[in-house]
Symmetry: C2
Subunit: 240 residues, 2 copies
């Protein structure tokens, strides 16, 4: 490792290189901010597989720390926690890391797949030309449905998201953050899903007054407004 | 509070007073064992509302500690943690309590309703006669369906449970307990759902080899085999 390591993060971008919309990359952007670690982000598109070939796989986030390349958001979070031990903890003591793993997995395996059925048909509108064919063919194969069929089922998909949010809603009705009085990585991991939705789709996932919305607002403001500084998706029919 | 408080727990029972099958009561049975606190359980049926009228509501668990009556499993867990501070912690330090709240709510609001659609039609077979009418009418109203209709949809309901278990499965594939190396209240809360299913229905929720199954086995053995000592539901068609 070099002295004063220049951290670099390969970060998913749209046609506009400033539209950084990956839920998994947002986890790491927030984790780095939590630890006060400066990072240089590198705009990356789905089809830029060669740029991250050193990791032996094809997805971001990828963190480069000197001569170390780390992929997978959870692995990056653990790397940051165990390497930069003199910075604020992402997990806290005791069972904090083990319990955060469940929330991390819930966001990835329950929440995000449900949100995807709402927002994925909007994503082509923000993608770079080089990613259009890859994105549609890979996602339609994963869903076993065309984007047009998904779009037609959007009302039911939105109902499903709101139903699955029940435990988040009751938890955040009782405490300001998932980790308690202040956000930790569990908050970063779950919030990534909402930031993703916000940046790719004009659909409102939450009904007005939902306690989850107040937490989303707090997370948008956290770390100097890092997440709020990223532009939301344009409203449908908005002048460009 | 009296000296050496004789803790009493109103504990949901079936026709056989030894069949204690409430997922919420199991949370507290395990939490009390974790803290090494002896308890005298009192067999209670759904329609014994008068016995717990002091709490101003009609559900168990209800813990009686001297002249204090506490209801709601989460409130009881917090009471035990904050009262018996010289016994092993249910949450650990830092964000442990806040993060456990999410797992507690996920078990109650996502996992248990999904499991209910699998096991509820089996519950009348173990209930006391006094509870039969109450249970069927209240549950059929809640589901908006007859038990016969629910039973006919059991294969799809079982698929749904297994899909919702994805984050539990990946977490427990990476660590022995939800709280890490040893169980804490997050484990008690989620395991309560599996102990409930085991005690009321012969249906196997998990496929062989599921990492969740290995954790269930560890939880059955924990605290001197407390949960394993409770008899599972009889197999369908078993001689009685």
């Amino acid at each position: 490792m070099t002295q004063d390591p220049p951290l670099r993060l390969f970060d998913l971008a749209g046609a506009d290189e400033h539209r950084r919309f990956s839920p998994y990359c947002w986890r790491i952007r927030l984790a780095l901010a939590h630890k006060g670690l400066p990072v240089r982000t590198v705009a990356w598109r789905f089809t830029d597989k060669q740029a991250i070939a050193a990791t032996g796989q094809g997805k971001v986030p990828v963190l480069v720390d000197g001569d170390r390349w780390i992929h997978d958001s959870w692995a990056i979070a653990e790397y940051l926690e165990d390497t930069y031990t003199d910075t604020p903890s992402l997990f806290g003591p005791g069972a904090g890391r083990a319990l955060a793993r469940f929330l991390n997995q819930w966001a990835a395996e329950t929440l995000q797949p449900a949100i995807a059925r709402v927002v994925v048909p909007d994503i082509p509108a923000i993608l770079h030309a080089q990613d259009q064919d890859y994105f549609r063919s890979s996602r339609e194969a994963a869903f076993g449905q065309s984007f047009e069929a998904l779009a037609a089922q959007r009302p039911q998909a939105l109902d499903n998201v709101r139903r699955l949010l029940a435990p988040l809603r009751s938890t955040l009705g009782a405490q300001p953050y998932l980790a308690g009085a202040r956000p930790l990585y569990a908050d970063h991991a779950v919030f990534g899903a909402f930031q993703w939705a916000r940046m790719v789709s004009p659909v409102a996932l939450l009904e007005p007054g939902d306690p989850v919305e107040a937490w989303v607002e707090r997370m948008l403001d956290a770390y100097g407004g890092l997440a709020r500084g990223a532009a939301p998706a344009p409203a449908v029919g908005a002048a460009s």
